[in-house]
């Protein structure tokens, strides 16, 4: 209950500076942690959550909270990261103008995200979901005088809006079919057969937009125009995970439909691979991380898809657990990597990795913490990323046992492990190792920035292992329907599985490859950009598979062109017709006028005189004589009344 208060508190910090925001988020964190401990230690809630109903919104639609394992984990995670990043911002945003705006938007965002993950009905989730989207829009465009930032903000809002609209329709369909927005009530209802696939896919559409999955991924790399703290918080650690959260929340719908399962799995697996390929060639440090985020979220979606498939086949929902596990781990190490890159950018003053290098000696804390992040994301045990990513791949492989499509996705996933390790270490070597290429002196960042880095590095290292230390393993906390096995069994299972060694091997070879190319420079990277075989691929990747280009063309040529055609049609055709009619009226009046004056007097009797007189007044009205027009109106009204009367009499009234 106290949580609603913290949402409201977060919202009220409009005019305040950093202390207000940090204070209110810290309060949210305290409440969330209390809930987390309460739920996990008593375990009383299980998979089915507890509802707190606040008030009725409109006729029978309630606003309330759903507190269950999933939501408490995300509440704690989100408020923790928001707090860390708000503290980091104190150093990072020190010299910026418009800080009140920044902190107010961060606070509103926190409220939006907390509201999204704790919503007990889909409508409420949608509302907070859009509040997050708004904050994302505002924060990407924080430096709004930069044309790129303004354009990126618009792109982010529009592309996610497409997903949001699908989400909206999905929610509406659910409401019409089940008569409620409430998630638990919907869980109890059964959908009619013809909707069983389409509804989860509509909801998934929202997730695809928000989590920047293929084909709606194009906004996220551009969103890097915002401050790095924003990229870390919203576009890596929290908001983009809302899509995963939504997919997990609607897991009970997805698992019912094999087609929906396949779509989720395929989009997840393909996006993981597809985004990783683009990360290979990016030179902007933040864009590498952005592609990496898209790719890692793809893993989570793959985990959910494969997990749903196995549930559909009657197995345990391990994929669900691992996806959320990866969500948590990724939040830590990706926030770490982004904040680290922010620290570097802060010091060097550029995003371009080609202008960095040799920063290791000057920025010890940053370089070490980022190394931890890179190892973690690459998937080397015992760093956190290993546990969850390996779990997801294993689930995908298991699903691949009975479904060749999942087997193919698994192959993509394994290849992505290699690429992930490669591009991460490519980034690390280009930034921190080798010769110094940046002009000017470089200093380590202030404490308010490095301390959050160290805290995050701690979690990037241990968040995987820690879950074992607490007793039951992650699977006993976050699960769908039933908890999973104990720690020991899990450990034995992981290390007795040959697949584990395959993925570790892929990760190591990726690191090695990056080491050879970017540290030793035994093989020049030019080989890939200039050799005939790979030149084309390189060009394709640099141009992001021309998807942005295609979308822009669609927006500019087709939508814009269509708008122009509509406008032309409106002005020339519709309005042209209207003006034509009135011109015709004027001409007719003029003709009458001429007829009246010059025509044959004897043939025109009194009645026609009246009509012609009216016509003349009509003509005058066209040039602004309103009195004349009013007189014509009176005649017209009489005529209309008479006509109506005739019509009614004929009709037999």
């Amino acid at each position: 209950m106290g949580f609603l208060l913290s949402i409201l508190l977060g919202k009220k910090v409009w005019e305040g500076g950093a202390p207000f925001t940090i204070g209110s988020i810290a309060f949210s964190l305290a409440v969330s942690l209390y809930l987390l401990v309460d739920v996990f230690t008593t375990g009383g809630l299980g998979a089915v959550g507890e509802e707190v109903i606040a008030f009725e919104w409109i006729g029978g639609i309630e606003i309330g909270l759903l507190i269950d394992n999933l939501s408490v984990l995300l509440l704690a995670l989100v408020s923790f990261l928001c707090l860390l990043i708000a503290i980091y911002s104190v150093g990072y945003m020190h010299k910026e103008e418009g800080k009140p705006r920044y902190y107010a938007e961060i606070a509103l965002f926190t409220a939006g995200m907390l509201g999204t993950v704790s919503a007990h009905n889909f409508l409420q989730m949608l509302i907070f979901w859009e509040i997050m989207g708004l904050c994302s829009y505002l924060l990407i465009g924080f430096w709004y005088t930069k044309p790129e930032a303004a354009s990126a903000a618009k792109k982010a809002f529009l592309v996610t809006r497409i997903g949001d609209v699908l989400f909206l329709i999905g929610v509406i369909v659910l409401f019409i079919v089940t008569g409620t927005f409430n998630i638990l009530d919907i869980q109890g209802a059964t959908l009619p057969a013809h909707l069983i696939t389409i509804v989860p896919l509509l909801l998934f559409g929202g997730a695809v937009g928000k989590s920047a999955q293929f084909p709606l991924h194009v906004w996220l790399p551009d969103a890097m125009e915002g401050p790095t703290t924003v990229s870390a918080l919203i576009h890596a650690a929290t908001m983009v995970k809302a899509g995963v959260f939504l997919t997990a929340r609607s897991f009970f719908l997805i698992k019912e439909s094999p087609e929906a399962i396949l779509v989720v799995g395929v989009i997840g697996g393909f996006t993981a691979f597809y985004a990783a390929t683009m990360a290979l060639v990016a030179n902007d440090i933040k864009r590498v991380l952005a592609y990496s985020t898209i790719s890692q979220i793809g893993y989570m979606m793959l985990g959910l898809g494969a997990g749903a498939y196995l549930v559909h086949q009657g197995h345990e929902a391990l994929g669900y657990t691992f996806a959320i596990f990866h969500l948590m781990n990724h939040a830590f190490f990706k926030a770490l990597l982004f904040l680290g890159s922010g620290s570097v950018i802060h010091a060097v003053g550029t995003n371009d990795m080609r202008l960095m290098g040799g920063l290791r000696k000057k920025m010890r804390i940053t370089s070490m913490t980022m190394l931890i992040g890179a190892i973690s994301i690459a998937g080397i045990p015992p760093f956190s990323g290993f546990w969850s990513k390996d779990g997801i791949l294993e689930v995908a492989f298991e699903a691949g046992g009975t479904n060749t499509i999942f087997l193919l996705i698994w192959v993509l996933g394994i290849m992505t492990v290699f690429m992930t390790a490669f591009y991460m270490f490519r980034m690390w070597f280009m930034t921190f190792a080798g010769e110094k290429r940046s002009p000017g002196e470089v200093h380590e960042s202030p404490k308010s920035m490095t301390i959050p880095l160290m805290i995050l590095a701690f979690f990037a290292l241990f968040s995987g292992v820690l879950t074992f230390a607490t007793g039951g393993g992650f699977g006993q906390f976050i699960f769908f329907e039933a908890g999973h096995g104990s720690v020991l069994a899990e450990l034995v299972h992981v290390f007795s599985n040959p697949l584990t060694y395959l993925s570790i091997g892929m990760a190591f070879s990726g690191i090695l490859f990056a080491y050879v190319v970017y540290y030793r420079q035994a093989v020049s990277s030019d080989v890939f950009t200039s050799s005939r075989a790979t030149k084309g691929i390189h060009k394709l990747l640099v141009n992001r598979y021309y998807m942005d280009y295609a979308y822009n063309m669609f927006g500019l040529k087709i939508a814009w062109g269509f708008a122009k055609v509509c406008d032309w049609f409106d002005r020339k055709a519709i309005d042209g017709f209207v003006n034509g009619v009135s011109k015709g009226g004027i001409l007719f009046s003029k003709a009458n006028d001429w007829f009246d004056r010059k025509g044959v007097d004897g043939l025109v009797d009194g009645v026609s005189n009246n009509i012609v007189g009216a016509g003349r007044r009509l003509r005058k009205s066209q040039t602004g004589n309103i009195q004349g027009y009013l007189a014509a109106v009176v005649l017209g009204i009489c005529f209309i009344i008479a006509l109506t009367w005739i019509l009614v009499t004929i009709n037999g009234g």
């Binding site: 602004g624 309103i626 009234g653």
Partner: protein
């Protein structure tokens, strides 16, 4: 608390007398403004009480049948014409909207010095006619106010308008006059069938032959639809808006368009219960076409006011869609959403036109291509623009979303997957607003702008009121929605 006085008559009478007083008092601009504002506050307060009486159980207004605060007197007994006024949830909300926007428009035009006494008197007179339409429960009285309303708006455009004002004013007058004739025909058709001008009797007895209802429905659809306006009888609106002074635009978009929506619901929905489904399908098709077509036309506009004018066409299409879904499938959500949309659009479009007018006045141009990067120099203008644009594109938490969402619920309920067509307009709407903002207020400052000053207090105050209301009714829609919904349910 029971209120037993002629509250509606007072709402009509006070601005009517006030308009004469303002016209006659030889005051300077500021003095006139203060007097006019003070006068306009009285009907605003009264209509707020009226609204409370309808939506809250704690204020009693004396109810007769379906209507509150009913007053009736013989007027022209030979033809059974009465002075009958009263409100229900539908009209009480719109009366409140009208009186609110009149007050805000008066304050917003604080600096209008050209023939200021006539200007303010005209605004008050306009209030009488608009409120009169909403409260009339006698068809003859209704039409009287309906027609009278054209006159002040005509002069508003023709005297205080922009460079092409004569064309726009004449076009406005002729267009809506032609539509009025259809309405008049409808009113007499009702009279010849039912032998009465009383709306209440007509609603209760349904005297008209079923076969005639379809014909009349279409006639009234075009009569009220022109005012709404619906495509293809909409072209008067962009011109009228572009030329009208800001206060005129605010009232035109904020309340005059609602006259059309109100007419559609009061006449087509309530008095013609036996029409065939195809008639409502026609409403839906035109509504959806207006939504999508209007949105696309917006995308191509350069003049902010013209863009907002087309966005009104697009958004009033939602009202038609809601009516259609109710008419065909009886979806209560759809009609409730349509009514809520009228209220929401009234608030939002008023703010939009205030902003466009203020930019035109303060920067010297309303063309998006001639603006650019004004946010740092005009933060208040830009801030309000953002709030109003976001409200208009249906951001959840603001008032527009509630209306759109409820109409879309009804749309799916009745039309199923056809919902994908109107929903296109949601995306296009976001596109044109964001694109406009990107070019107008963000990016580097356009050095070609010579003069630029931010909003003054009299511009900030009304926009603040509206922005707060966006949030209040966006977050707490049940304040109105519950009454609207119950009203729709009672409709059957």
């Amino acid at each position: 608390m029971a209120l037993d006085f002629h509250i509606i008559s007072l709402i009509l009478l006070i601005p009517a007398i006030g308009s004469v007083i303002v016209y006659l008092l030889p005051l300077k601009n500021t003095g006139t403004k203060i007097v006019t504002t003070a006068i306009s506050l009285i009907p605003l307060i009264l209509s707020f009480i009226l609204l409370l009486g309808v939506i809250s159980p704690y204020v009693e207004l004396g109810q007769t049948g379906d209507f509150y605060a009913l007053e009736s007197a013989d007027w022209i007994p030979q033809f059974d014409i009465h002075y009958t006024v009263g409100v229900d949830a539908l009209s009480a909300i719109l009366v409140f909207l009208a009186t609110l926007l009149v007050t805000l428009a008066i304050v917003f035009s604080w600096n209008e010095r050209h023939r200021h006494r006539e200007f303010n008197a005209l605004l008050l007179f306009m209030e009488v006619t608009i409120v009169g339409v909403f409260v009339s429960l006698d068809n003859f009285l209704f039409f009287l106010f309906w027609e009278a309303g054209l006159v002040p708006m005509y002069f508003m455009i023709a005297v205080w308008g922009g460079p092409n004002k004569r064309y726009a004013a004449i076009k406005f007058f002729l267009y809506t006059q032609a539509a009025s004739l259809l309405v008049l025909a409808g009113i007499f058709a009702f009279y010849f069938y039912g032998g009465t001008f009383s709306m209440i009797t007509l609603m209760e007895t349904n005297p008209m032959a079923a076969s005639a209802q379809n014909l009349l429905f279409v006639a009234l659809l075009f009569g009220f639809g022109t005012k709404l306006p619906m495509v293809p009888v909409h072209t008067w609106l962009p011109d009228a808006h572009v030329e009208a002074p800001t206060a005129g635009s605010v009232l035109l978009a904020g309340v005059m368009l609602k006259l059309g929506g109100y007419g559609l619901i009061r006449f087509n929905v309530q008095m013609l219960p036996d029409v065939a489904d195809w008639a409502f399908i026609l409403v839906g098709v035109i509504g959806v076409f207006s939504m999508v077509y209007g949105a696309f036309v917006c995308l191509a506009q350069d003049d902010l006011k013209r863009m907002i004018a087309f966005s009104s066409i697009s958004h009033m299409g939602i009202v038609m869609l809601g009516i259609s879904a109710w008419g065909i499938g009886g979806s209560e959500w759809a009609l409730a959403g349509a009514i809520f949309q009228m209220f929401a659009h009234g608030l939002i479009s008023a703010a939009l036109f205030m902003i466009a007018g203020s930019i035109g006045h303060n920067v010297g141009t309303r063309n998006i291509s001639e603006l650019g990067g004004i946010a740092p120099k005009a933060p208040r203008t830009s801030g309000f623009m953002m709030v109003a644009f976001l409200a208009s594109l249906g951001l959840p938490g603001l008032v527009g979303f509630v209306a759109e969402f409820t109409v879309f619920i009804g749309t799916y309920e009745v039309f199923g997957w056809w919902i994908f067509i109107p929903i296109i307009s949601v995306v296009v709407t976001a596109a044109y607003y964001l694109f406009a903002m990107q070019r107008a207020i963000f990016g580097p400052f356009n050095e070609k702008i010579k003069k630029l000053h931010d909003m003054k207090w009299f511009e900030v105050a009304p926009l603040s009121v509206l922005s707060i209301l966006f949030a209040v009714f966006g977050i707490l829609p049940f304040l109105l929605m519950n009454s609207i919904y119950n009203w729709v349910v009672a409709l059957g």
